[in-house]
Amino acid sequence: MAIRTIVRLTPAKPKAGENFKLQVVAQHPNEPGTRRDAEGKIIPAKYINQVEVYFEGEKVAEAKPGPSTSANPLYGFMFKAEKAGTFTVKLKDTDGDTGEGTAKLELA
C-alpha cells in the first residue's frame, strides 16, 4: 500500500539565497510495536524508517526515523534557495511500503 505523502514549501516562492522549509506530511499509523490493542495483544511495529529528499534527481538529505515517531508524521527540512527545480521525497516503512511526494521550487 502506498503511503500518502504531501510535500509543502514555506514560503511557497522563496527569493534566491533565502532559506525555506520543506515540510513532509505522511499518512501512516507509525506503530512503535509497544502499544496494545483492546484485547491486550501487542500491535506489531510498522513505522517509516527512511526518508530521502531528492532535488532534480540528486539526493540532498536523508533521515532515518526510529519507532518513536508520531502517527501521521511530519518531517521538516531547511534549504537555501538557489535555482528552481523539483523536490522529490521518498518514504519507506519497515514493511517495505513506499510513498512519494513532489514539490516544485519556483523562485520569486
Binding site: N19, K21, Q23, N30, P32, T34, R35, R36, V53, F55, E58, K59, V60, A61, E62, A63, K64, P65, G66, P67, S68, T69, S70, A71, P73, L74, Y75, G76, F77, M78, F79, K80
Partner: protein, 150 residues
C-alpha cells in the same frame, strides 16, 4: 495559577536557566535516565554520555508540557555551516527505544523538525556529529501527561 501566568513564569525560569548557561552535565533535568540513554548512545554512536560536549550552537525546541505523548513537536537548529555537520540525532531518555531519529543533512541546512512519541515525562537530547568527529549535545525536558508508546 492561570495558564497565562504559568507560561510566563516558566518562560522566565527557562530563560534564566538558558542565560546562566546551565545545561552542562548532570543538569538535573526532569525525566533523566542516563542508564537507558547510555545504552542507546553506545548502540547508535559507539560513544557514551561523557564523550558528548554540551554546546550552545544547538537550539533544541520541545514543549515544556505536552498533553499527549503521542504527538510532541521537536525542532533542532544547529548554528554551524552546513558542511560541518555530519548527522543530527535525537534521543529521549525514557523511551523504550530512546533513539528517535538520525538525520544526515548532506546539501540541506542543519535543521530538522519532526513530531515524536514520548512514553512519559522525559529528557530529550539533540546530539550533533560534526565532520571532525566531535559530538555536541543539547538537552531539554518535556513533561508528558499521557504517554504515547503504550
Amino acid at each position: 495559577m492561570n495558564r497565562r501566568a504559568f507560561l510566563r513564569t516558566t518562560g522566565v525560569a527557562l530563560g534564566a536557566v538558558a542565560l546562566a548557561g546551565l545545561p552542562v552535565r548532570a543538569q538535573g533535568l526532569e525525566g533523566e535516565d542516563l542508564a537507558n540513554l547510555e545504552k542507546a548512545l553506545q548502540a547508535v554512536l559507539g560513544k557514551g554520555f561523557k564523550d558528548l560536549t554540551p554546546s550552545n550552537v544547538i537550539k533544541l525546541t520541545v514543549p515544556a508540557i505536552a498533553e499527549s505523548g503521542a504527538n510532541v513537536p521537536a525542532e533542532v537548529e544547529v548554528n554551524l555551516p552546513s558542511n560541518q555537520v555530519k548527522a543530527i540525532h535525537l534521543f529521549a531518555d525514557k523511551n523504550p527505544t530512546p533513539h528517535l531519529v538520525a538525520f544526515m543533512p548532506m546539501k540541506a541546512l542543519p535543521y530538522y523538525a519532526t513530531r515524536v512519541r514520548l512514553a512519559e515525562t522525559s529528557a530529550v537530547r539533540a546530539v550533533v556529529e560534526t565532520v571532525d568527529g566531535k559530538f555536541l549535545l543539547a538537552s531539554a525536558s518535556t513533561r508528558v501527561t499521557v504517554g504515547g508508546c503504550g
